[in-house]
Subunit: 350 residues, 2 copies
DNA sequence: AACTGTTATGTTTGCGTAAACATTCGGTGG
DNA sequence: CCACCGAATGTTTACGCAAACATAACAGTT
């Protein structure tokens, strides 16, 4: 077998990708013309264009995005930092981000931070700095962001989702306060004298704001503020809290900070013979897909995670394109979904 | 204000990133030495190294990953194709993938496919071809993979998660058959004469294999195979199916193809006065976090999504490093988690 | 003193692309 | 008939990095 002299490639490797130069050679044009065709630029004869396209197809040519990024100076990629994907909210937000970004021709790179320690976060940001991203969307609590931001490369734009970052970064957040207000008001309008609250973990800003808003709403209505009961977002913690709440004879209405805790709560109440909604009304937050099938179907505050994700991408790309950071908070409204877990308070003395 | 002659930069832009050359200039060394320090290579004097590190810090230097990728010929990135993230399984798998990949120094790029049409999938693959990925993990049904694969660039390695891709690609799958067998056996051992099945959507390979295994297990035990009841994975569909199953007086045991449908099923049975587990035993599949708090806590088949994710990454990186494709299927075992939704069959005539 | 090897550093080169600049060529108006 | 134009195409260059290949300085060995 004689090796053809015309193939100067090292050792006959055929797995390598074709480059513009290869296409140019096959099509009998310069690589610049290939570039023009590849990017859909004008000023190329139709016949030539056809020839180039044919060559591309023949060689299975794909633009090398690394070279492209190097030349252009941007990556067409958005990074996403999360603590966990294991919550419906984060996941749905992420999905919306990925979809919106794809529509804009941007890829999404994931950067999970296993443990929310300062070092972990700093590490994540530092890795992101080396990563090929033009913007970062942070879906997590940001207690730690202040110190961590030092290692953020200056040209990377930041959007913080569903959290609180002061004026430092652009923030897209669900209207936690509004949703909570609606929930509390709904229960009060049903005749309940006050509303108990099954809160999320204290480290969570979202939980914190729901708790604050709950307290504010009660105080604004001139109602007593019952002691706080705290869970950790999990159904299991909701169950444990529910066992305690079931003992409170004067507890007729509970606002759970998320649907999963409400699920556990419902079970605990059922076990203790407290009927929902006849004896106790329960309202959740999130409107996860399952909540319509809880026993009973859960009244809850619907969050539009998809919209949050979309707006995150919008803000990120706006910042990239105008190459200057944004500030301020965008609030995504919630919607009260009334199902069967809330009802009129039983008539009582007083 | 006189412009210093020493700064040849165009127009005084200071937002640009520092390059190795900049660092080299500040540290008074060659850029190659900066490269060595940057990559932790030996053969650099400690004092020099310190000087370079100081210069890096001063300038906020970050390696440009595009240039790096271009030079090295790989991207240190894994792409993930999914139809949806809105299932616990996909999400947890994705999270494990991201974590494992990060540990190996790989980033994960997400590529959602909104609608599972052939064109969409083809488009996704084609976009991935242009994207900066060394390997692709596909988390989805692969009915459409055959035709779509044509547009996969030849050097990209593929792993298919939780699906069926024949011998074409490496496959990492949960042991659906084993888990189903365990579930059916568990119910039969409790004295149930047969087991009904609330199946997932027919388009899903996972659903299909659970259904097949259920039928096989029953036939192997010489039991009657009841008519199939089908849902779409959602709790709501489980509820609707449950209303029908509640009418079947001879139905004492149900194997639901996932936990969410089991949730709806439980509610339907409860509404119709069929007690669980006294009248009907229910078993699920997945062991999602909430299932321990269902009313009653659900007996289910635990899937180790994290392990699936890890093995996907392992396989992907093995392929990348050995630069040759893998074939064959890796099965990740399941584990039966017995809780309170299954119990002994009520004694009956016959 | 002439060799050899080791360590620390510098120089050249090219990865694939696309902007900027150059060239060619068939017209068109003066 | 030539200067000029615009359309089509080619050539050069630089993006930032790191492999490959120098070179330089110095400590031992003979």
């Amino acid at each position: 077998m004689t090796t053809k002299e015309g193939a100067p490639q090292h050792g006959g490797r055929r797995t390598q990708n074709a480059s513009m130069a290869d296409v140019a050679r096959v099509a009998g044009v310069s690589s610049q013309t290939v570039s023009r065709v590849s990017n859909g630029f004008p000023g190329v004869n139709d016949e030539t264009r056809e020839r180039v396209l044919a060559a591309m197809k023949e060689l299975g040519y794909r633009p090398n995005s690394a070279a492209r990024a190097l030349k252009r100076g941007d990556f067409r990629t958005i990074g996403v930092i999360t603590f966990t994907l294991s919550t419906t909210g984060n996941m749905r937000t992420l999905e919306a981000i990925a979809t919106s970004a794809a529509q804009e021709g941007y890829a999404v790179t994931l950067l999970p931070v296993a443990v929310p320690t300062q070092d972990e976060v700093r590490g994540a940001f530092s890795r992101l700095g080396e990563l090929a991203v033009d913007a970062v969307i942070v879906i997590m609590e940001v207690h730690l962001l202040d110190s961590a931001r030092l290692s953020l490369p200056p040209h990377v734009k930041v959007v913080v989702a569903d959290s609180d970052a002061g004026d430092r970064y652009a923030v897209v957040d669900t209207d936690q306060a509004g949703g909570t207000r609606d929930a509390v008001r709904h229960l009060l309008e049903l005749g309940h004298r006050t509303v108990w609250h099954l809160a999320g973990p204290s480290e969570s800003y979202a939980a914190q704001r729901r708790t604050d808003a709950w307290r504010t709403a009660l105080e604004a209505a001139g109602r007593a503020v019952p002691p706080l009961v705290r869970g950790d977002w999990s159904a299991e913690s909701g169950y444990r809290a529910g066992l305690r709440l079931a003992e409170q004879a004067d507890c007729t209405a509970v606002f759970a900070a998320n649907d999963q805790m409400a699920l556990g709560l419902l079970r605990a109440l059922d076990e203790r013979g407290r009927r929902v909604p006849e004896d106790v009304s329960v309202i959740g937050f999130d409107d996860i897909p399952d909540s319509g099938s809880y026993p009973p179907p859960l009244t809850t505050v619907h969050q539009d995670f998809a919209e949050v994700g979309r707006r995150c991408v919008q803000s990120a790309l706006r910042q990239v394109r105008e190459s200057e950071p944004e500030h301020g908070t965008t609030l995504v409204p919630t919607r009260l979904v009334v199902r069967e877990s809330t009802g009129r308070a039983a008539p009582r003395r007083g």
